[in-house]
């Protein structure tokens, strides 16, 4: 056994816990998880069945943590997990799973398959079987500070641009601010509207907030590739900045996995509860709106629909907030079939969009989103994740659809009641 394979198998052994043992024990091979998976429904290829993607992990569990499996292993009767097998499994574990969690909602015996894939990726990465592009993104996130290689000067340039456009000062390194605002690389490069919208909304609502020079990036490719040590390092930057600036709450941007990384994995990665709250931007906006501080005027008359990002809705619990906000600013908001916690993934979550090898498959499975959008008859698509947004823009273009994609924060800012007194 090669050293890297041994590391991978060890890592598999380390991640297997009571929930995983109960999940593998319960599986009756009914195949229903396939019916919930975008990659199976859109290709009809049985190899994309979620539980099948976990086969190497299952065998390690059986051979290491069950009496008969151990006996079989000792007697040389069981099939060991090999490098060749993990290599063959890499596209199943990374290219065709967006960690969307739909399968975990339908499994009749209650298996949280996403929980298992997330953990399995730890062993895949340790054994050297993670996609090259994700390795690159993670390396850049650790060494440069952002998976897309963005440094503070780029953020500063955007701040200046936003200040010129809005005439509102963007606070930086302001100790004692209530909120620490994070962004995703995608927003910094492709969607400067987000920061501009936030500045205007926070000015109108009188919220104190700040950006931090050493913790502006919210994304965390460590949790996508499955490298908890790196994920810890990335998340620690945010924790250190939040504690240094003594903020009460850190706002996760319009990004799916960033919310999972910070809100759900963060405290577990650093090994202690946070002394501050973590909220998704939609939760903050909804609270400000409910408190009567965020006021809007007029409504968008275009028929529009909302795409629930998996990590925000199904795996994040932010489901009602976007609907309350949308109904405030849109007069013809239409739900997609399966909207809410059972929504279908855009096809690019969980690191898939950063993995160029997966692109043809991702564009193929976008068919489902296409059908969902078409069922609403709308040409305006609202969402709350910059990654979903760019993935859907590419998918829409690929399928020749004339649909505009807008971030919800940005849409709200368009209908903001603004006090223009300086």
């Amino acid at each position: 056994m090669s050293a890297t394979l041994a590391k991978g198998i060890n890592s598999f052994k380390e991640v297997i816990d009571t929930p995983i043992a109960s999940f593998f024990s319960s599986c009756v091979h009914c195949g229903l998880c396939a019916e919930a998976c975008l990659f199976y429904t859109e290709t009809g290829d049985a190899k994309y069945t979620p539980i099948h993607k976990l086969e190497p992990l299952r065998r390690v569990w059986q051979q290491e943590y069950t009496l008969f499996g151990k006996l079989g292993k000792t007697l040389g009767l069981s099939k060991p997990v090999t490098d060749a097998e993990l290599e063959a499994w890499e596209p199943l574990v990374y290219d065709s799973c967006t960690l969307c969690g739909r399968c975990a909602m339908v499994c009749p015996v209650g298996n949280d398959l996403t929980y298992m894939i997330r953990k399995m990726r730890e062993g895949m990465a340790a054994s050297g079987h993670a996609p090259e592009d994700l390795v690159g993104a993670t390396t850049r996130a650790v060494t440069i500070g952002s998976p897309m290689g963005i440094k503070w000067p780029a953020v500063l340039a955007q701040i200046k641009h936003v200040q010129n456009e809005t005439g509102i000062e963007v606070p930086v390194e302001k100790e004692g601010a209530y909120y620490l605002v994070l962004m995703s690389s995608m927003e910094i490069i492709n969607f400067p509207e987000y920061l501009s919208a936030l500045s205007r909304i926070f000015k109108q609502t009188g919220v104190s907030w700040t950006l931090a020079q050493d913790a502006f990036e919210a994304t965390n490719s460590g949790i996508q590739i499955g490298a908890s040590d790196l994920a810890r390092e990335i998340v620690s930057r945010i924790v250190v900045a939040a504690e240094r600036l003594k903020v009460k709450c850190v706002i996760s941007p319009e990004c799916g996995h960033a919310f999972t990384a910070l809100r759900w994995e963060g405290p577990n990665l650093i090994g202690r509860p946070f002394g501050f709250e973590v909220k998704h931007i939609l939760e903050v906006l909804d609270e400000l709106h409910t408190a009567g501080r965020l006021k809007t005027k007029g409504k968008d008359k275009r028929p529009l629909t909302y795409h629930d990002p998996c990590q925000i809705a199904r795996r994040g619990g932010v489901v009602e907030q976007p609907r309350r906000l949308l109904n405030e600013v849109a007069s013809d908001f239409r739900e997609m079939p399966d909207a809410g916690v059972m929504n279908w993934c855009c096809g690019g979550g969980g690191g898939v969009s950063a993995n160029s090898r997966a692109e043809p498959l991702r564009l193929q499975v976008f068919k489902h989103k296409k059908e969902q959008i078409e069922a609403t008859g709308t040409q305006t698509l609202i969402t709350a994740c910059a990654n979903c947004r760019i993935v859907m823009e590419e998918g829409l273009e690929h399928h020749h659809m004339k649909v505009e994609v807008i971030g919800l924060t940005e849409l709200l800012a368009q209908y903001l009641v603004e006090d223009n007194t300086p």
Partner: protein, 219 residues
């Protein structure tokens, strides 16, 4: 050994040993699962949702939206098989007497004709599910020796019970002995096959409900 001796053995030593091995197997498997433990979740739950694990233990018995339509054979077959099996095991008068002898508790039974129909429905469902397992590409890919063994282990008690009840195939005493042996074989192997989901389903569903409950989206 004549048929009566065989039945005496099936009801006596064989049953006792099967029950002992079954209990030991279940305890071992539970120990294997719970012995691994899990780390405490340090992330603050969205809502305090006590009991969300237990709720999911029940709610997961219902098909999620849209799935019944996509996979009617699995759902309808699954329901008919499980309900038929439970009705047969728990509400057949001779079974209740058997449990009464063994544990000293009894409950009202269902008419034999109804239990008979349940058993037949259950057998038919098992056959349909086997055909589906062989023809459906996903199920066929997932299936191995263990799946077909589990199927056979489940079918045998139903089939032998049905034949004994109707005095078919073999002489009644012999058939009844075979029925008992098939149940004993099932008991001994249950903990070490996927049939252990009889127990572990409560654990796995509980964790699912707990994990999603903390996020505020438990089903």
């Amino acid at each position: 050994m004549n048929h009566l001796d065989l039945l005496t053995f099936a009801r006596g030593d064989a049953l006792n040993w099967a029950l002992i091995l079954f209990a030991a197997g279940v305890v071992l498997r539970l120990f294997e699962i719970f012995g691994l433990g899990r780390k405490a979740d340090l992330a603050k739950p969205r809502t305090n949702s006590p009991g969300s694990g237990w709720r999911t233990v029940f709610t997961r018995s219902l098909p999620p939206q849209g799935l019944l339509k996509r996979e009617p054979v699995t759902y309808v077959g699954g329901y008919v098989f499980h309900l038929g099996l439970f009705a047969t095991i728990l509400f057949f008068a001779p079974h209740i007497e058997f449990f009464d002898d063994l544990f000293g508790i009894s409950w009202p039974n269902l008419p034999s004709a109804l239990v008979d129909a349940s058993a037949v429905a259950s057998i038919v469902a098992l056959c349909v599910l086997l055909a589906h397992r062989i023809t459906n590409p996903v199920k066929r890919m997932l299936s191995g020796f263990g799946d077909y063994l589990a199927w056979a282990l489940t079918l045998l008690p139903l089939l032998t019970g049905y034949l004994a009840f109707h005095h078919l195939l073999f002489e009644y005493t012999l058939m009844l002995s075979l029925h008992l042996f098939s149940v004993e074989l099932l008991l001994v192997l249950l903990p070490f096959t996927k049939l252990f989901h009889t127990f572990s389903v409560f654990i796995s569903r509980w964790y699912n409900g707990d994990i999603f409950g903390r996020k505020g989206t438990a089903s």
